[in-house]
């Protein structure tokens, strides 16, 4: 019997993928943040949307976010292979071929934009298309390997989901969703630079010019504090504009104080305390962003349904 299969296997013409490998291409953890922030944008928007259409809009935004993750993994497969953190992703791990990931990402991109456009409106569909374009082309292809400001500018892609969610209801973009955009946009640099400080060897090996590799550790520590000091007051904008209430103000105050503390710890820490301070900022910043958006969601739920109905709804 001939073994022409061996050659074909070597050329990766036989797929070795499990369904969960394709799921991993969608970066589920990033997707969960996209879903949550888009949901807040959607419920905060004035106007009405049928709950089923709203759920479909969130699903489409989630799939669009996942599609951009798949396309990012397709483009970054060479650097993912040399970084410890990403070496076991489906493409460098040899379970999904680059072509499969590209086709999967492109299909889901078109699918998500079409579904969102048809189910809600084309402003939302267009914004989702722009989000995917920005993440894949502007961030992954143009910025990530060229400039230390990669995640500062690229952060716009991660900040757009609440704007898309808002537009799905209203068909336009106003100041309120742009404030939510600004919060996530300013949150991104301290969050990712805290990770980059710990993983700078990994990024250096892959040739990705993250700020600690280019400007040095001391400059990154200062930049983290600087962005945190801009972020914390901006996070109070919903209170000033009237769409953030008491719970939001408490979250912004306590969370903001914690963020400044984390940034100061990174600035001043030495030795193993420094690594611990970076991880504290990385994890704490996720909690901070979650607390801000959760406060908006809870205030919206309480205002719309009353306290008991809202809690019962969460429970069931």
């Amino acid at each position: 019997m001939s073994d022409i299969g061996a050659d074909i296997r070597q050329q990766s013409l036989i797929s070795n993928a499990d369904p969960q490998d394709f799921l991993a291409l969608l970066k589920p953890r990033v997707m969960s943040l996209v879903v949550f922030t888009a949901l807040v944008g959607l419920v905060m928007a004035p106007g009405t949307i049928h709950p089923v259409i709203g759920a479909i809009a969130i699903f489409a935004i989630a799939v669009g976010g996942g599609a951009s993750g798949a396309l990012n993994m397709w483009y970054d497969r060479d650097i993912d292979a040399v970084m410890k953190r990403t070496a076991n992703r489906p493409i460098p791990g040899g379970r999904v071929s680059a072509g499969e990931a590209l086709a999967f990402g492109l299909f889901l991109s078109v699918f998500s934009v079409m579904v969102l456009g048809l189910a809600t409106n084309w402003v939302a569909g267009g914004l989702l298309a722009f989000t995917i374009f920005f993440y894949v082309v502007i961030y992954s292809m143009l910025l990530k390997r060229r400039t230390a400001q990669n995640i500062v500018i690229g952060g716009a892609a991660g900040a757009l989901p609440p704007v898309v969610g808002w537009a799905a209801v209203t068909g336009d973009v106003t100041l309120a969703p742009m404030v939510l955009f600004a919060i996530i946009f300013l949150w991104t640099p301290p969050h990712f630079w805290a990770l980059a400080l710990v993983k700078c060897e990994d990024y250096g090996r892959a040739g990705v010019p993250m700020l600690p590799n280019v400007a040095g550790e001391a400059a990154t520590r200062r930049q983290i504090l600087l962005y945190t000091l801009i972020l914390v007051p901006v996070a109070f904008a919903p209170v000033v504009l009237g769409f953030g209430g008491l719970a939001y103000a408490v979250a912004a105050t306590l969370g903001g104080a914690a963020m400044i503390l984390f940034a100061l710890q990174i600035l001043l820490a030495k030795g193993t305390d420094f690594t611990r301070a970076c991880w504290r900022m990385f994890g704490g910043s996720i909690l901070y962003l979650f607390a801000l958006f959760a406060a908006l969601l809870v205030e919206w739920g309480v205002a719309k349904f009353g306290v008991l109905t809202f809690i019962r709804g969460l429970w069931s």
């Binding site: 019997m1 001939s2 022409i4 299969g5 074909i8 036989i14 797929s15 070795n16 993928a17 499990d18 369904p19 394709f22 049928h50 089923v52 259409i53 479909i56 699903f59 579904v115 048809l118 189910a119």
Partner: protein
């Protein structure tokens, strides 16, 4: 030079490859069924009450 095989059996998938292919096929099946349901639901909810207003 080795002799050509008498009969070309093509590619034989290993048991593991067959199992993975079956799981992928199932996932594609569920995805297609999900898509049909999704488009059906979008159509019904976009048309709303208009779905029963058919010209005679």
């Amino acid at each position: 030079m080795s002799a050509l095989p008498e009969k070309n059996d093509g590619i034989r998938l290993t048991e593991e490859e067959k199992a993975r292919r079956a799981r992928r096929s199932k996932a594609i099946g569920f995805a297609v069924a999900g898509l049909c349901l999704l488009f059906y639901v979008i159509s019904v909810f976009k048309m709303g009450a208009g779905v029963v207003k058919r010209p005679m």
